[in-house]
């Protein structure tokens, strides 16, 4: 095959497929742990705090947040690229979703730290 270096078209698709499969697992866990096994379907304030303070739970939740943000932003990018944008617009879309994704993850980390350190 020809040198691959300039051909990155497939990377997005590949990332989307892999993160999608991961999400089937992570989101399944998230739904069960947060809603289906919980009395009343939603944890109350104190329960959330107790729950998120377990290191394993916090780690899994943050991994989930990273994967879900990645998948969501890559998906959004794909939908926008389907509009047949020009190269400048494409660049801005890629930048935009990257920043938005990073903001989401940063917010999640901040929220977790805030909650864990709350008395």
């Amino acid at each position: 095959m020809e040198p691959r270096n300039q051909r990155r078209g497939g990377l997005g698709w590949f990332g989307q497929a892999v993160s999608g499969v991961l999400l089937l697992i992570l989101l399944g866990l998230h739904m069960i742990a947060h809603h289906f096994v919980v009395e009343g379907g939603l944890r109350t304030y104190q329960d959330v705090l107790n729950y998120i303070r377990q290191p394993l739970v916090a780690t899994v939740e943050l991994i989930f947040l990273v994967v879900v943000s990645f998948h969501a932003m890559l998906g959004l990018r794909a939908v926008l690229f389907d509009l047949g944008l020009n190269t400048v617009q494409e660049k801005w879309v890629t930048r935009g979703v990257t920043i938005l994704g990073m903001v989401m993850v940063a917010y999640g980390i901040w929220l977790t730290i805030t909650l864990v350190s709350q008395v």
Binding site: M1, R4, R8, G9, G10, F81, D82, G84
Partner: protein, 244 residues
């Protein structure tokens, strides 16, 4: 037996606003949709512009959209698309510039094919009575453009290489020592190449010639994915295998 049916035909002449004209025609339901359009042209409106040649699904030039789906009107029987007293809504192919009425400019189709160096590639398997090494057309594709019309991605992304050309690329790659030019690779494996496909499979659903473009796109992707995984695992490219 004759059926009376209504045809609502999209009309457009350069410089005039688009409109829809309604015609009634009495026709044997065993006849084709193209027959009914020709009848209207012969008996009611000589300014109706449509394109056809072979009348038997080998030239692909009459393709149009009837009741929301791409068909070849030359082989579609009236009885298969409507009922007595029924209505046919007839439009030119989507996603192509309209020249007049039902005739579209096929430029977007052939430009795409040109990128992957189709329709003329060679040497392909010779047909009976054909000298080996004579150039041959891409498999069964009759270059009707219906796949481009049906594709939801082509509807918004005019840069998308689209079903027929991607199927052609697959065809080239899987025929003997065929390979694509760097430029063609860029188009096939780039942002607006085979990864833009979202698996609606509409091209394969409408293709009158069993090219199965979507199936070919997926086969191409499998090839690329295997290649990528091999690359990630440091196994190198599978080029050697292909060269054998």
């Amino acid at each position: 037996m004759m059926w009376t049916i209504t045809l609502k035909i999209a009309r457009y002449k350069p410089g005039e606003p688009a409109r829809t004209d309604t015609f009634q025609v009495s026709i044997d339901p065993e006849r084709t949709v193209l027959d009914s359009i020709e009848k209207i042209w012969a008996e009611q409106d000589r300014s109706l512009v449509f394109r056809h040649a072979c009348h038997h699904a080998s030239c692909g030039s009459c393709a149009m959209v009837v009741n929301g789906v791409e068909i070849l009107p030359c082989i579609k029987l009236i009885k298969d698309v409507t009922k007595p007293g029924g209505t046919l809504i007839i439009e030119p192919l989507h996603n192509f510039p309209v020249i007049s009425d039902l005739v579209v400019d096929m430029g977007p189709f052939f430009e795409r094919m040109q990128i992957v160096k189709m329709p003329i590639v060679g040497p392909a398997d010779p047909l009976p009575n054909q000298e080996p090494n004579e150039y041959n057309r891409f498999d069964d594709c009759i270059e009707c453009g219906m796949c481009l019309s049906a594709c939801p991605v082509v509807a918004t992304d005019s840069k998308y290489l689209g079903p027929a050309a991607l199927a052609a690329a697959y065809q080239i790659l899987s025929s003997g020592d065929g390979n694509l030019s760097a430029q063609a690779w860029e188009a096939v494996d780039g942002e607006h190449g085979l990864w833009r496909c979202h698996v609606a499979f509409e091209c394969s659903a409408v293709c009158p010639s069993n090219v199965d473009p979507a199936g070919k796109i997926m086969a191409l992707r499998r090839r690329m994915t295997v290649e990528r995984i091999r690359h990630l695992l440091g196994l190198g490219s599978s080029k050697k295998k292909r060269e054998k």
